[in-house]
């Protein structure tokens, strides 16, 4: 049965779009039929991160309004056959998205895909609400930083009250994904610890993605990091998180700091 997964956070810039692209591709590589849907109306970026920006003809709002049929708007990934993208619109009219319309599109996507990944916009407004509205599962992308953790807590509250599942008395299956994790800063006690984040949010962890140049490089060339450089540390962490999402039990790896000369000097007192 198809699963609808929202990638959300409240706070902007924490890595929602990167995560949607990376895990969407990783799920497709694992043999699943996947569609990634951009809900960031007016500020779409998932197409750019996935390298499909020049292939956008129709978008989510066109489909919601009945101007285009769903198959016309779906863009098939050039690298992975079973990965598709439904782009957001660049129109400024956010009200063009209606709950009824989004519900219809999601229901149609459920018929042809195993996974529907909804890339939420930042904030807690209409776009973010609609992105989570029909979710079965949620990944809450969190940076080890106070404002991000606070916003994640708020979003978790909304997932537990404003989704269709919550209103039916069921639960959205929630997972915390920690991104931009910097092992050096963690060792020096400069970054709120993973244990503290999990204790505060009281939500299980699905992965830890290290801060890495590879993420930027991948978005520069328009490829999910899991495709662009599968051997890189963030790609491996995303692949592990994806396998956990699929139900595999994999030991959680806390990213290690690379031991350069400077780090050795610094590490001596951090240890």
């Amino acid at each position: 049965m198809a699963k609808v997964l929202v990638v959300t956070s409240g706070k902007g810039g924490v890595g929602k779009t990167t995560t949607t692209a990376a895990m969407g591709a990783a799920l497709a590589q694992a043999g699943q039929k996947v569609v990634v849907v951009d809900f960031d109306v007016g500020l779409r970026n998932l197409d750019l991160v996935m390298g499909a920006e020049r292939r956008v003809v129709f978008d989510l709002i066109n489909v919601v309004q009945g101007i285009a049929k769903l198959p016309q708007a779906l863009i098939r990934d050039k690298r992975l056959d079973n990965l598709s993208l439904l782009p957001a619109s660049q129109t400024k009219d956010k009200d063009a998205l209606t709950e009824e319309g989004v519900g219809r599109v999601i229901a149609e996507l459920r018929k042809s895909f195993d996974w529907v990944l909804c890339d939420s916009p930042a904030g807690i407004e209409r776009g973010a609400m609609l992105a989570m509205r029909f979710a079965d599962e949620a990944i809450i992308v969190t940076n080890p930083e106070v404002s991000s953790v606070r916003d994640s807590d708020r979003i978790i509250g909304m997932l537990d009250s404003k989704t269709v599942k919550a209103e039916k008395g069921e639960r959205v299956n929630k997972h915390v994904l920690i991104t931009r994790y910097d092992p050096g800063r963690a060792a020096r006690g400069e970054m709120i610890s993973i244990d503290d984040i999990l204790e505060i949010l009281a939500t299980p962890l699905i992965g830890i993605i290290p801060e890495s140049q590879d993420v930027l490089r991948a978005s520069n060339v328009g490829a999910p990091v899991t495709v662009n450089n599968p051997a890189s540390a963030p790609a491996r962490a995303y692949h592990d998180a994806t396998r956990r999402l699929l139900g595999e039990v994999i030991a959680m790896m806390v990213p290690n700091e690379r031991r350069g000369l400077m780090n050795l000097l610094r590490g001596r007192r951090a240890a």
């Binding site: 106070v146 606070r150 006690g189 709120i192 610890s193 505060i200 610094r266």
Partner: protein, 93 residues
């Protein structure tokens, strides 16, 4: 990070525990307030209704404020009454 700090033997104080403590206090409050974001408005309306039963009030003159601290929160209610109250009310109030 400055070069000096890189080589100094004294580690910078860990700030992560402070972050955890601040978050725990803040979120305890925020979770308590969730689902009743209109609490202050509601309090104001009800206080206004109760006092209005006895005195004619200007609705603008009722101010309800809440201050939240780590251990104690205070609710401040400021009701401005018109002059010339009946003596019986002044006694009981």
């Amino acid at each position: 990070m400055s070069i000096l700090r890189l080589f100094s033997s004294r580690p910078a104080a860990a700030t992560a525990p402070i972050a955890r403590e601040r978050l725990q206090i803040l979120l305890a409050h925020e979770r308590g307030m969730r689902g009743q974001p209109e609490l202050l408005l509601q309090l104001r309306d009800e206080i206004l209704a109760v006092v209005s039963r006895h005195v004619a009030l200007d609705a603008e003159k009722v101010v309800v404020r809440m201050e939240r601290g780590p251990n104690v929160s205070t609710l401040e209610v400021d009701v401005e009454l018109p002059n010339g109250l009946e003596p019986s009310l002044a006694q009981t109030g």
